[in-house]
């Protein structure tokens, strides 16, 4: 910098530049023009991020991508679609026997909040929204199971279909629990992992139970 000591810049020329630490491929243009870019680009970028996280859930490796850039779009989409698919499962058309939309919504979000609080109280290092993000994204296998169950129920609702649905739901429940454990258990002290895994197990068990006992009108 000593060599440039004699450079003087007039004060009416705006000084611009990069003030964050250059990480990855941040070009000077990008930060200035995210406001001017077409809406399509913004949406596609968010959709790609969500899609990448879906892939991480389906193949749970110990990566920190899900934790580092958390977002709640994915959980919202999954929660809404699961709640929509679970609606209308009442045994009697006059009375409400099946879980309603609000019920499923509340169960998922309230359950996720409780698990997060529990893991924080047990001494976890993960933050509130990161935990919500992981738990929400790991509902993906169960949403897939719900889809499969609905398709199977279209074909018929006998014992065979029940067995198929049972197998699918149990498999997806295991997958969900393993995926979320892979992300969350690392943030706990090693001897308390079981204490954190049990509520997650219970949470996905309740959701799986709602999926399995769903019978359309």
């Amino acid at each position: 910098f000593a060599g440039l000591a004699d450079v003087s810049i007039a004060e009416d020329i705006p000084v611009e530049g990069e003030i964050t630490i250059p990480v990855g491929s941040h070009s000077p243009d990008e930060d200035c023009s995210t406001l001017d870019e077409p809406v399509r680009d913004t949406i596609m970028r968010d959709l790609k991020a969500v899609g990448k996280k879906f892939v991480h859930v389906m193949y749970p490796k110990k990566s920190s991508a899900l934790l580092r850039d958390w977002d709640l779009w994915g959980p919202l989409v999954l929660c809404v679609s699961l709640a929509l698919m679970l609606q209308g499962g009442s045994a009697d058309s006059k009375e409400d026997g099946g879980p309603q939309f609000a019920e499923v919504f509340v169960i998922i979000w309230f359950g996720a909040v409780v698990i997060t609080l529990n893991s924080k109280l047990l001494g976890g290092t993960i933050s509130f929204f990161q935990s919500l993000c992981v738990l929400g994204y790991c509902v993906l296998p169960l949403t897939v199971a719900m889809l499969v169950c609905r398709l199977v129920l279209l074909a018929g609702s006998g014992t065979v279909s029940f067995i198929i649905r049972l197998i699918v739901v149990v498999a997806m429940f295991g997958w969900s629990t393993l995926a979320s454990t892979a992300f969350l258990a690392d943030s706990q002290p090693p001897n308390r992992k079981a204490l954190v895994v049990y509520p997650i197990f219970l949470f996905y068990f309740v959701i799986s139970w709602m999926i399995l006992t769903f019978t359309p009108q």
Binding site: F1, A91, D96, Q100, S127
Partner: protein, 346 residues
């Protein structure tokens, strides 16, 4: 905020390290990671690490100290190299003011969030358990203690009871689903959660109040813990009997398992109470409530009983707000006769 905020870290870097471009940028990087940067990236303010709100407080403190250091250094630097700071002189002050404002806003946000966080910390000591301890306490809750002349120790822990209550909720849901209980006003989930949490919190408070009247040595957390672990017996009983529908089996479990966990709670309370009347009141109430709750959970959400209630009550519906399913008349008669037969055999 481009020009203004650009100058402030420039001033910091200038004040911090003045040897070479690379080192300067390196110094700037160190400042950023150490929290000494004048720029707060507002997007990343909501935590990317666990206790970042605590770090925020420290960070702001450090930034304030660094700012004070910086001003002294910048003063010295200005004398040395006036031209270098020429383009940043006025902008530096403006930048610092803007950055200062951002710090204050951020600090206010952080301290509000910190006080919220601190409220959770109140509960932290009650969750300080190991899995081995939880397992040991679960098994102990079924073993009545023999020494009632010596106050028994109760662990004031809330993790086990909370998990047991949630497990009970899950088991209840399962029971309600398999018996096709239809709740008219409310939802299945709401009823299950309300029942279990209501019992745990309500009966704990009531017994704590009675303990206060009867001069028993027990705190609220201990009572919550004791009753919570007492629900372990309920969980086992309901888990078995919701799947195997034999009335006699339920009664055996009710007396055996429910009785054991009640006996344990009663023994612990007796060991902490002085005086016969007080012991009788306290333990009688607890035993009655605990056993009756198990009875209620079984009968309120059980399919076979619907037929019995229909025959006994007739047109008067029980106040559970539960509606029997629309069973065709023929099978209803069959169900009622079988129910009567079972009732007769018991």
């Amino acid at each position: 905020a481009g020009p203004g905020t650009m100058s402030a870290p420039g001033a910091a870097a200038a004040g911090g390290g003045r040897s070479g471009t690379a080192a300067e940028w390196g110094g700037f990087e160190d400042n950023m990671q150490g929290g000494g940067s004048a720029v707060i990236d507002m997007e990343n303010m909501d935590d990317t690490s666990g206790s970042s709100f605590e770090d925020m407080g420290e960070m702001h403190q450090r930034m304030k100290e660094e700012e004070e250091e910086e001003e002294g250094e910048a003063g010295a630097a200005e004398e040395e190299d006036g031209e270098f700071l020429g383009m940043k002189g006025l902008r530096g002050q403006l930048g610092r003011q803007v950055a200062d404002q951002m710090w204050q806003v951020g600090k206010r946000q952080a301290s509000r969030a910190f006080s919220l966080y601190a409220n959770i910390d109140i509960l932290r000591p009650y969750f300080d358990v190991e899995p081995v301890q939880v397992r040991a306490r679960l098994l102990e809750s079924m073993i009545p203690v023999k020494m009632i002349n010596f106050p028994q120790k109760i662990a004031g822990e809330l993790y086990g009871p909370l998990m047991l209550v949630f497990t009970l909720v899950a088991i209840l849901l399962h029971g309600m689903k398999t018996s096709d209980t239809i709740i008219r006003e409310g939802t299945l989930m709401g009823t299950a959660i309300g029942t279990c949490f209501g019992y745990w919190l309500g009966v704990s408070s009531f017994i704590y109040f009675l303990a206060y009247l009867c001069n028993a040595q027990i705190t609220m957390v201990q009572m919550l813990s004791l009753l919570g672990y007492g629900l372990f017996g309920h969980c086992i009983t309901l888990f078995v009997t919701y799947n195997i529908h034999f009335h006699s089996l339920f009664y055996i479990f009710w007396l055996g398992v429910g009785g054991l966990s009640t006996l344990r709670m009663v023994a612990v309370l007796v060991s902490r109470t002085v005086g016969h009347t007080q012991r009788l009141i306290l333990c009688g109430t607890l035993a009655a409530l605990h056993m009756l709750f198990l009875l209620y959970l079984h009968f309120a959400y059980h399919k076979v009983v619907e037929g019995i209630l229909d025959t006994l009550e007739g047109p008067n519906m029980p106040p559970f707000q539960r509606v029997a399913r629309d069973i065709p008349v023929v099978s209803n008669a069959v169900l009622n006769t079988t129910a009567k037969a079972i009732a007769l055999t018991l």
